[in-house]
């Protein structure tokens, strides 16, 4: 996510310079094209040198943008050896989460469904269409591996504030690395049309301290 933010800042900086330059050219042209101040406009048709310049320069700029962009694209695929693996499975129309790192061979993993809280059941201060009954709890400042898949049709697991979006495809286990830099609650929504209630299956990630996470896992293990 930090890589995405940094690339965005770098590109926007140069983009603003280019925008100011282009707008200045356009404004200047319109201003000097006044029918009284400039009754006989120039009729310049060719200008080989300038044409080459204004073709090659934008190409060079694009190449310069492409270099860090590709570096980021490939680095997003790398998964640093994680400490936690969580499976997010899309259903019609809810997400289910499985934490299987803590199960013995025949024991069930920690698994629960995450349904949206309907409007009528919202409490004061809760966000409409975004809150869920069981949040996905993760430790902050820990490398996580998220495995996204679906049980029926295509879904997509997206949490914009974490820079995460990954299609949930039945029969496919898409792996994405996630690292949350602070404790907090992060919201997202299903991002692939999946039927009537596609808009009503949100995602809530709650990043907590390591101690809180361990106590949450212990509680969940006792419930199995």
């Amino acid at each position: 996510m930090q890589g995405i933010i940094d690339l965005h800042h770098d590109i926007v900086f140069f983009m603003i310079l280019i925008i100011v330059f282009v707008l200045w050219m356009i404004t200047r042209t319109l201003y000097h094209f006044h029918y009284k101040k400039n009754p006989i406009p120039e009729k310049i048709i060719h200008g080989t040198a300038i044409e080459i310049a204004w073709t090659v320069t934008p190409s060079l700029i694009l190449v310069l943008i492409a270099v860090p962009s590709f570096a980021l694209l490939y680095s997003l695929d790398e998964v640093v050896d994680p400490a936690v693996t969580i499976k997010a499975i899309g259903h019609q129309w809810y997400w289910s989460y499985e934490y299987s790192d803590y199960s013995q061979s025949d024991d069930q993993s920690i698994t629960f469904d995450s349904y949206m809280i309907p409007d009528d059941d919202l409490e004061l201060g809760q966000l409409r269409l975004l809150e869920v009954d069981n949040r996905m709890v993760v430790p902050a400042n820990t490398h996580l591996r998220l495995i996204i898949t679906a049980a029926d049709v295509l879904h997509s697991w997206a949490v914009p504030s974490l820079g995460a979006k990954c299609d949930a495809v039945p029969g496919r286990l898409n792996q994405i690395p996630v690292f949350i830099k602070r404790e907090g609650v992060f919201y997202g929504q299903c991002s692939e049309l999946c039927g009537a209630n596609h808009a009503f299956m949100p995602i809530v990630v709650e990043a907590v301290s390591l101690e809180d996470y361990i106590s949450w896992v212990s509680t969940k293990l006792e419930e199995i």
Partner: protein, 132 residues
């Protein structure tokens, strides 16, 4: 209630498994051991108190044989490898031996429960298409 979770994830099975499984698994085992020194495991043990139970933060490491985003193949291969190791163990030690259980755990972090249950049903029906 004190909860002690014993992990034996991919690559980190018993010594005989490491010897028999071939270069890929032993490489993964080495990775696992290398990670054991530096992972949040230590931090987790520091933070977890005896009253809460002992939960170790460890999971399957990266498998270099499957560098892509789609880990479906890895899940299937890990399940089959675990099955073969489990059967070897059963053949050597006899059925019901407690030591064989860790082998069946290596794939749990990667494979969805639904897939494992489906394969389990196929086994029970006699329709399992894997080798073991």
């Amino acid at each position: 209630m004190s909860i002690r979770v014993i992990e034996a994830l991919s690559g980190e099975s018993t010594q005989e498994a490491t010897n028999e499984a071939g270069p890929a698994d032993s490489q993964a085992a080495k990775d696992m051991e290398g990670d054991g020194a530096a992972t949040p495991t230590a931090a987790a043990d520091d933070h977890s108190s005896p009253e809460m139970g002992e939960v170790t933060l460890r999971t399957a490491p990266q498998d270099a044989r499957f560098p892509t985003a789609n880990q479906a193949r890895r899940c299937y291969v890990a399940y089959n490898e675990a099955s073969s190791l489990y059967h070897k163990c059963i053949n050597e030690k006899g059925k019901g031996h407690g030591d064989c259980k860790p082998h069946m755990r290596a794939f749990r972090s990667i494979c969805p429960d639904e897939w494992i249950e489906k394969w389990q049903e196929l086994r029970e029906e006699g329709r399992w298409f894997g080798r073991f």
